[in-house]
Symmetry: D2
Subunit: 373 residues, 4 copies
């Protein structure tokens, strides 16, 4: 780096670095650089910001914009050539890591009846949320489960998994969510293709739900030492019923309405070690207050229509739209309907924030808790 | 104690005490006794048995024998005078502590429409399992829930609780289960009568189920630091459905058929710190193998008919009968019907055994795993 | 039981049972008894006391009274015949279960140089606290450790263990502490004599201390899944140093002076699942305030002299004396010296109380927190 | 991005993306880009590597090269202007984030007698390891502790902390270790300057060690709910003694010799939620085998001299040198002395790897487990 190009991050605040460049210092910096070192005070204010500065920007991806392109991918490339036919969401601030927000990847995948992806395993934790179509299924470590719209399914870190659509089905589209970027950033990403390309179904279809999907009842004698939920599928219908029942006895969160986390039934903790998920209901006419917190969040509109204000910018959404909230940006949600509820599915890296002691939250105090948008 | 009366527990086995009484020793023992001491070798073999020797005996209580007496209690005593109108089950080996088996208490309680017991709290953990009648309800720390047959409800250690039957209901009978004897033995039993005798209902009726009764979904922002489940009611219908679903994908336990534990949905652990509970289904014609384990167990027949062999003794049971299995006694269960399943509700002190590292289990090896009865 | 003999536990308090015996009721009670049942209201007030009523009494065992008898046991019986030469402490209220207090057993054991007890294992958790002599050692699951005065050593639930005194040593006396009575009460006691009567030493002598005895440093790659501490020996010298250092920066507990718990270094929890232990220092002239709590406690005076007031009764103690505090009895301690500190070793069943959610504590409010003794 | 510039990551392996660019596809890619989206198959092989590819390179920083520059910083800038006078270590592969390796920052800081840095707090977890000088001290949340060579001290996430050298001391140099880069990457970094610039010492000096620094003894009644150790200082002398004792009873790790982790004495877990640390001893002449694992590691030579082979490259080191091992690179260590042991201090992000389920380890199988260097 030439001397002229050295950035200067001086701040005139007690306790912060505020050193003026001098020829002597610049020479000193060059000497340090030759030793693979540097003077902290030249970068301290940059690497120790007062608060998080997300490199992601808020984005809304409209399903009506993307759907045709997703379906077209099935005409353009074969599953054998493409591996998976996925249109991924690319945050303008995170193009270098192919992330939708922060360290989270998301894409829309399509499959035609009778198609089947090859089985693989990776360090990234993954999930899919079904958007449309009949006959989709997923196999995780030999456990097969069938899927319908708004069903949420896990394919956790290290599991063999593959997706398909039965021959009797219709073209399907779902949202994939993974933390591939995080795994790469942490330099901990392994990838394996299944030696047979497809795995055998070695358990009765739907057994994960039959074994672990009961309310507060656990099978005796089944042990489980994995870091993720033994329940792989979270169905829409009981989820919506649960939210509806809960809505009758709660005032809800001022920031999120009636919100429930999908959990690992064995521990009450998050569904996977690095990705959490929730479903929330905005009651007719509900407009929440704004808060901000650490962590990156990707929402899909599972039901209804409305808008969210993120970092002062309004995003109008309807069913199947996807949007993201970057770390430490204020956000609030509103249901546009006076008669119907609206539901938002969300996945996020909250388990990472909490496991590392980094979760922080702050409500907007001014303007009655609402952002000017 | 006179010298003549001293018991002698000698065993002629290496490593065990085998000291003959002599006049010199007997005089020595008397001296020790005056010092509030004794010689270990005189009692060692007694207090260190080779394996557990339960002081309880297996018992079956037939509902047809007890029901009329239970109902008659409502004619004989008023709730005000009796506190609760309960006929308790008294194991012949545990009369001194009013236990049904081991350190577990159980009784059959009745209430008439419009009646209401006074509210109290105690260190004992408690549960009730509804046997018959309409309109029963329980209030736990201001949370009211309505109850039907085969519903299972918790009133944990330290909670204010009271039971009643609505004016529109019918006479109700339920089984109470508590660990009063254990609390007394551990010298840790506290009892308080509610200052108002009745507590107010301070939450929407059924809110515990609405909040915590969803499948693998938890409300966001509800914290809970108690040692017991925030879900107080476990309903029969979803429980039976869960067992039926699970039965379709499992071979079941060789000793217990299709068995599930009621759990704390927040932790996956037992419903209370000192009492656990399970429901098991014996499929048509199923006859399990025998095993034995530490812990004391009380069963109620929730559905069907059959028999159990406990410590070599056969007990035939039908719906609503209650029986117990003492610690470390072999037991096996059989469904007498070739077409209908049978279901056994059970509560036990397994959480105590496990929390203290004392659980041990052993299968019967001989005779194909079946006891001669 | 004849009708005349039925006890009556009536209380004239709202919410408590208060049913007068009538001929009709007495006949009813007889009928119930024939069905192995009873009417709860006849015993409710007895089995649900307002607060714990310990069946133990406070006792002080003077070492000067017991020492000669302990040593004499070595003349009266051989180790082969006696198993172990132990004088056990027998609380007048707990003679039926050979307990020193509550469900805790304690005894004074002696061995001569060159003697060695046979190896065994049992469900009871055990400890020894060395009182006098040179050359004592213990072997736990092949780990041998040498012991000196005031050293504290564990022989946990399920481990093979044996004690001995080296040929070069002197006669040794130590205190044994076990929860044999609790294991019997819980009907979970197993006992096994080692097949070879003696076990081999399979690890370097003292390895447990070398591996796990460092301050806040753990060996990498050693796994441990037991419910008890991998550190078996807690030496007196570092313990006393630790108390002395801690005393310089703390005001101490108003009830216990400067007190530290012996812990499992892997978890920070109690040394064993059912027995905890502590060492406390009363500073010169210190006289603590009284409190009471659930749990049973056995103290040995490791250093100094003073007195304790237990349930209003004063017990004066000096080095090596042993005394007990039953559950829920007020107790306070005083150091009789104005210049020397006094130290009390204690073992107790607090881990049981805490694992089961039964710990409660209460300070004495009146009289400046001191009992009249 | 112009079409010509699109990278192509095709792999001719079943299960991997292998799609040839065509004009139609390139046009499609442009359309997607306009929608803030992309085709996964164009980047899949890049973002899902077969195994971790660290962007860091192995580096050795020689103390003899850096020391004069570090001391010179005290002449060039004042503490007031610089904040802290630190020369940070800049991995050639991680210049963009000022990291020494992976997401870990490290620097060498100097202070003169009587100097004192301003107090601040941040989300980054931090530690210092003393290299030379007398009179250094650190204050953490009002707890002051004095420090000598090879002492290791924590200033955890969220604590107020400041460093100084007493007026009677000598110029001091120490190594700082932090995870500033990780905090920034996770967009969770907060920074606060203490309102008074200096914090008061509110506890007796050294109280953290006096309270929590005992072997397997915990003060009763001190609660702690933080995610980091309450013991802030780990002294060299007892650490070296612990390693020496442990060395006498262990064969050690084939990859690391005699190695111990610094732990949180309350939990047995890592010292902080995001940074772990260890000290290891290479016995005279010891040359370990190679292995690799996920996670980033920074070593300082606390004693002795030798060399390490990292990813096939040999680095010779002597006391006070610092080197790093990036994720998933093979490494082995050798002590160059046949008579003296060598000790390596290490800090790393293993707690992150383990909390997120990402730790993997692999031994080198070929060539007797040694890399050709």
């Amino acid at each position: 780096m030439s001397r002229a190009a050295r950035a200067n991050y001086r701040e005139d605040v007690a306790g912060r670095a505020n050193v003026e460049d001098t020829p002597e210092l610049l020479a000193y910096y060059d000497q340090l650089e030759n030793l693979r070192a540097g003077a902290l005070w030249t970068v301290a204010n940059k690497i120790e910001p007062w608060q998080p500065q997300s490199s992601s920007v808020p984005v809304l991806w409209r399903y009506q914009d993307l759907r045709a392109h997703v379906l077209r991918s099935a005409e353009l490339v074969s599953p054998e050539k493409a591996g998976r036919r996925v249109i991924y969401l690319n945050n303008p601030g995170r193009k270098d890591v192919a992330a939708a927000v922060g360290w989270l990847y998301s894409g829309l995948q399509t499959m035609r009846p009778g198609e089947l992806a090859s089985a693989h395993a990776h360090s990234a934790s993954a999930l899919r949320f079904i958007m449309e179509g009949q006959g989709a299924y997923t196999i995780v470590d030999g456990h097969k489960m069938t899927l319908g719209a708004n069903d949420f399914v896990l394919t956790p870190n290290g599991t063999w998994h593959e997706h398909g659509v039965s021959a009797e089905g219709t073209p399907c589209i779902w949202q994939d969510g993974l933390d591939i970027p995080l795994m790469n950033a942490l330099e901990a990403n392994f990838y394996v293709v299944h030696p047979d390309l497809q795995q055998a179904v070695t358990h009765p279809v739907g057994d994960s739900t039959a074994i672990w999907g009961a309310t507060a009842l656990h099978p005796v004698g089944h042990t489980w030492d994995k870091g993720y939920s033994p329940l792989f599928k979270y169905q829409w219908e009981p989820t919506y019923e649960a939210l509806s029942r809960y809505a009758r006895v709660t005032d809800g969160s001022p920031y999120d309405g009636v919100i429930m986390d999908y959990v690992n039934p064995l521990t009450g903790g998050p569904v996977m070690q690095t990705i959490g998920a929730s479903m929330q209901m905005l009651r007719p006419g509900e407009h929440t207050k704004a808060h901000r917190h650490t962590g990156s969040f990707i929402y899909q509109v599972a039901k209804g229509q409305g808008w969210s204000v993120i970092n002062g910018q309004r995003f109008d959404w309807r069913e199947r739209d996807i949007f993201c909230v970057p770390s430490w940006m204020f956000h609030e949600h509103a249901n546009a309907s006076a008669s119907e509820d609206a539901c938002l599915f969300c996945f996020n890296d909250l388990p990472v924030m909490k496991a590392l002691g980094l979760y922080r939250e702050q409500a907007l105090a001014e303007n009655g808790g609402r952002q000017a948008a």
